[in-house]
């Protein structure tokens, strides 16, 4: 083969390979738009990249979700534990708050009253279910004697019927053996409050003609000087008048619920305390210091609303 005999096919290919780049170099450049020849390639590769991108983001998302869930679970357990501890603390603090309010109320009552009072805590109750007594942690060594009144801020609880050196037993006014001399505050009708059952008592020995209505307040008469005069005992719940008879039977609901009592006062000396309204105040005697004190609205100032008191 001579030097000048060329393969035509090979020559064309050579020229194309050399010429095309030289031609493209001279074409005007427009970077915003790709060359028409490259668009198919760009489209295919772009689609593939989108596919890969979606796949990898899905994998990343799932992985991070799994890792987050582990963290969330740990944080949740910790928060639940903290929540439980805080709830327990809240319960304790609420109890302390209520106790504080109750004791403040008792202290205020004791300070404002001219009676000699001994505070006592309820530590037990009667052994038998049909007897209603409470046991307190004050006894004869603290000055408690039999038949001393037991009261709380809102009303009468009962009276002491048995003492020992360090404890005493209080007969609740709902006990069948309890008897308290009382009057109806509105009409001044006088009778004896006797215990009936767990929650109720009765006002007995009222005359048939005595004016008693449902809702009336029954207070202590104060004649025995065991209870202060005019101290709330119970509210009239029902009035029963038989067709014949000299008396009427009145059902009462005590103002103090014995089931909720935690502290009581023992009246060591009533000192002629009078909880009646101002118009009942005695004539002024310049010599008697107590009678000089005119109590304005004594009921509201001394009887603060405690817990366990039913209006």
């Amino acid at each position: 083969m001579s030097f000048f005999s060329l393969d035509l096919r090979k020559a064309v290919v050579l020229i194309a390979v050399v010429a095309i780049p030289l031609l493209t170099v001279n074409e005007p450049r427009n970077p915003e738009e790709s060359h028409w020849a490259l668009k198919p390639f760009a489209f295919a590769l772009g689609s593939l990249q989108s596919l890969y991108s979606g796949f990898s983001s899905g994998v990343r998302g799932t992985t991070s979700l799994y890792l987050d869930l582990i963290d969330i679970k740990l944080v949740n357990q910790q928060l639940l534990k903290e929540n439980a501890e805080l709830r327990a603390q809240l319960g304790t603090l609420t109890e302390l708050k209520l106790e504080n309010e109750r004791l403040n109320s008792l202290l205020g009552f004791k300070q404002k009253s001219q009676m000699e009072l001994l505070a006592a805590k309820v530590v037990g109750e009667d052994l038998l279910p049909d007897q209603k007594t409470l046991i307190i942690n004050r006894g004869s060594r603290h000055g408690v004697k039999s038949h001393m009144a037991a009261i709380t801020v809102g009303g009468v609880v009962g009276y002491v019927f048995r003492t020992s050196p360090y404890t005493s037993q209080i007969l609740l006014l709902t006990d069948r053996y309890a008897v308290i001399d009382s009057i109806v505050q509105r009409s001044r009708a006088r009778g004896l409050v006797e215990g009936s059952d767990k929650d109720l008592c009765k006002l007995r020995y009222l005359k048939r003609g005595d004016d008693v209505r449902v809702g009336d307040l029954v207070v202590t008469s104060g004649l025995d000087n065991i209870f202060p005069k005019g101290f709330p005992v119970a509210n009239v719940k029902n009035v029963l008048k038989s067709q014949y008879g000299l008396s009427q039977e009145v059902e009462l609901k005590p103002v103090v619920s014995p089931q909720t009592l935690e502290e009581v006062f023992i009246v060591l000396n009533a000192n002629q305390e009078n909880f009646e309204q101002p118009e009942e105040t005695l004539e002024l005697d310049p010599v008697d210091h107590h009678q000089k004190q005119i109590k304005e609205a004594p009921t509201e100032s001394l009887l603060m609303p405690p817990s366990g008191v039913e209006s």
Binding site: V123, G124, E125, D126, L127, L128, P129, D130, Q131, K132, T133, I135, F161, R162, S164, Q169, L171, D175, R176, Y177, E194, G195, S196, D197, K198, Q259
Partner: protein, 179 residues
């Protein structure tokens, strides 16, 4: 001399146990569980002495137990003693007719004695008192005997332990007609 000492020791152990659980019932149960009816924890002690002692010993325990327990209730001593004597008689009569060894009879009698006590209390109150019991606490009447039986199950083994410690012999058991 030693036998007498052991006998007195046996009496004192039971009285001490009685005092402990009477105080528990009136104080701890009330403070922890409030108004939930309490088991009559003195009745299992009483019933044990009615079943597993000679009659004269049972009567002594009836009086001693009444004296101790009556300090924790407003029920009058006379009525309380009368009721307890009736319970002793009931337990003794039932034991003569129906008895089987083991804790079953004792537990059953403890529950039954609790119920008998409440019923007799109502009857004595209606007969003897000016202001009688007219509205009993029915829920207590229902629950208290069951709780008493539960505690009797535990006390049964404790009481026999006391008897073993103090070498107290249980009277020869009388077998009744059975069921």
């Amino acid at each position: 001399m030693r036998i007498k000492g052991l006998l007195i020791g046996n009496y004192l152990i039971f009285l001490g146990f009685l005092a402990l659980f009477v105080a528990f019932q009136s104080s701890v149960w009330f403070q922890v569980l409030g108004s939930l009816p309490a088991p009559q924890m003195w009745i299992p002690v009483f019933v044990f002495w009615c079943i597993y002692r000679e009659p004269h010993e049972s009567v002594i325990m009836t009086y001693a137990l009444t004296a101790l327990v009556s300090t924790q209730t407003s029920l009058t001593f006379a009525i309380f003693l009368s009721i307890n004597v009736c319970i002793f008689a009931s337990v003794w009569l039932i034991k003569q007719r129906f008895y089987w060894s083991g804790s079953g009879f004792y537990i059953l009698m403890s529950g039954l004695s609790t119920l008998i006590f409440f019923i007799l209390h109502l009857l004595f109150s209606l007969l003897l008192e000016d202001n009688p019991l007219t509205r009993p606490d029915w829920f207590s009447w229902a629950l208290s005997p069951l709780l008493t039986m539960f505690f009797a199950l535990i006390f049964y083994h404790v009481f026999f332990l006391f008897d073993r410690i103090t070498a107290k012999e249980v009277p020869r058991e009388t077998s009744g007609g059975g069921f």
